[in-house]
């Protein structure tokens, strides 16, 4: 092969290099990252799930009926037979979730959480089971989820604060790439009514607190792909 042949080969190698560069550009450049579509779908899915929970009723998921009672002490008195039970099947799943948050009052005194006796533990357990079943079926195994209902904490004294919070999750792991949607719902009671019940026990001066008229709860749904 003489010098001209080597020149042709060199030309072709340059040509090949340019084609490789063009191919690499085509491979690299795409209309959008596939993750963009995944992200858009996940965000839309979270939005749709919250909206669906606001409208769907519990009756269609087997209903919800619970008995008033303490943790290990059911009120099995004959005179209460039936009267201690409540049927909430007509309520939407979101209404039940907000009411469940009301069953989970958190009181923090000097940084220490105080466990309170819950009169509606049966409701708490049943609502959580119902919602978990609904969310498991809605997510269809595609997503992990965390649903949190929380009210803004109220400082009732320099060392004490109260709030309502309940959490439902499919996985306790913390995911960096999670999508969350938050809606705000008004609870069917006022802060004044709620706090007046523990006013005497905890020596709260309600008049000194700047309370909003209604308790509002933030409902946040976090989703991330499995």
């Amino acid at each position: 092969m003489d010098e001209r042949g080597i020149g042709y080969v060199a030309d072709m190698l340059v040509f090949a290099l340019m084609i490789s560069f063009a191919s690499a550009l085509l491979v690299k450049v795409s209309p959008a990252d596939v993750r963009t579509i995944d992200d858009r779908y996940t965000a839309n899915f979270a939005d749709s799930t919250l909206l669906a929970l606001q409208n769907a009723t519990a009756n269609e998921l087997g209903g919800l009926r619970y008995e008033l009672g303490f943790s290990d002490l059911a009120l099995n008195l004959p005179i209460l037979s039936g009267s201690a039970g409540r049927d909430l099947g007509h309520k939407t799943l979101m209404q039940l979730l907000v009411e469940d948050a009301l069953c989970n009052l958190h009181i923090e005194l000097a940084g220490v959480d105080i466990n309170l006796i819950k009169l509606s533990q049966d409701m708490d357990a049943k609502v959580r089971t119902l919602l978990k079943r609904a969310l498991d079926r809605l997510s269809g195994g595609l997503f992990e989820y965390r649903l949190i209902v929380r009210t803004k904490p109220i400082d009732i004294s320099p060392v004490a604060k109260v709030w309502f919070e309940t959490k439902l999750e499919s996985s306790s792991e913390n995911q960096q790439r999670a999508f969350s949607k938050t809606i705000t719902m008004a609870m069917p009671v006022s802060w004044h009514d709620l706090l007046s019940r523990c006013q005497e026990v905890y020596h709260i001066n309600l008049s000194s607190l700047e309370l909003e008229p209604n308790v509002t709860a933030e409902i946040t749904l976090e989703l991330w792909p499995r």
Partner: protein
């Protein structure tokens, strides 16, 4: 002046042809991958747009009110109009509403034909919804939207 063409050197000829073929194939393959990704992206993007429009507007209007997240328990005239509008733009659509147990509540549009849609496969997305069966019965369900080019 002495002229030397490519054909006079067998090794150079084979190298040139081989390189041209190899890199032509590489270029074609790269373009195929690019086109496939673009089609998938465009198809899913269109399906997401259409599904969003259906659940937040076309199917969400029940009576005079729009309730987000709640869709009608049967196909509506608005859906038919939207279907015809998309068809005039060369977009075919099939909408299914199913309960969580998989029971089909209603569907609209034909299933895509596998053979004719070989080069334009349908893209499908699904979203959770509540179905407005009656004022006291609103089960959770799934809105499934399949979109493909005619």
């Amino acid at each position: 002046m002495e002229q030397l063409s490519v054909g006079e050197d067998l090794f150079v000829t084979i190298s040139v042809v081989g390189l041209i073929v190899l890199f032509s194939v590489t270029l074609a393959h790269s373009y195929h991958n690019y086109a496939e990704r673009r089609n998938t992206y465009e198809g899913l993007s269109t399906a997401l747009d259409i599904a969003g429009r259906l659940k937040n507007d076309v199917l969400a209007k029940i009576g005079d009110f729009v309730t987000y997240g709640l869709i009608s328990a049967a196909p509506t005239t608005r859906l038919e109009n939207y279907f015809n509008l998309l068809r005039s733009q060369g977009i075919e659509l099939r909408v299914e509403v199913r309960k969580l147990d998989g029971e089909l509540v209603w569907s609209y549009g034909d299933e895509p034909d596998f053979l004719t849609q070989y080069f334009s496969p349908p893209c499908s997305v699904s979203f959770p919804i509540a179905i407005n069966q009656s004022s006291s019965s609103r089960p959770l369900g799934e809105l499934i939207v399949k979109v493909w080019r005619a």
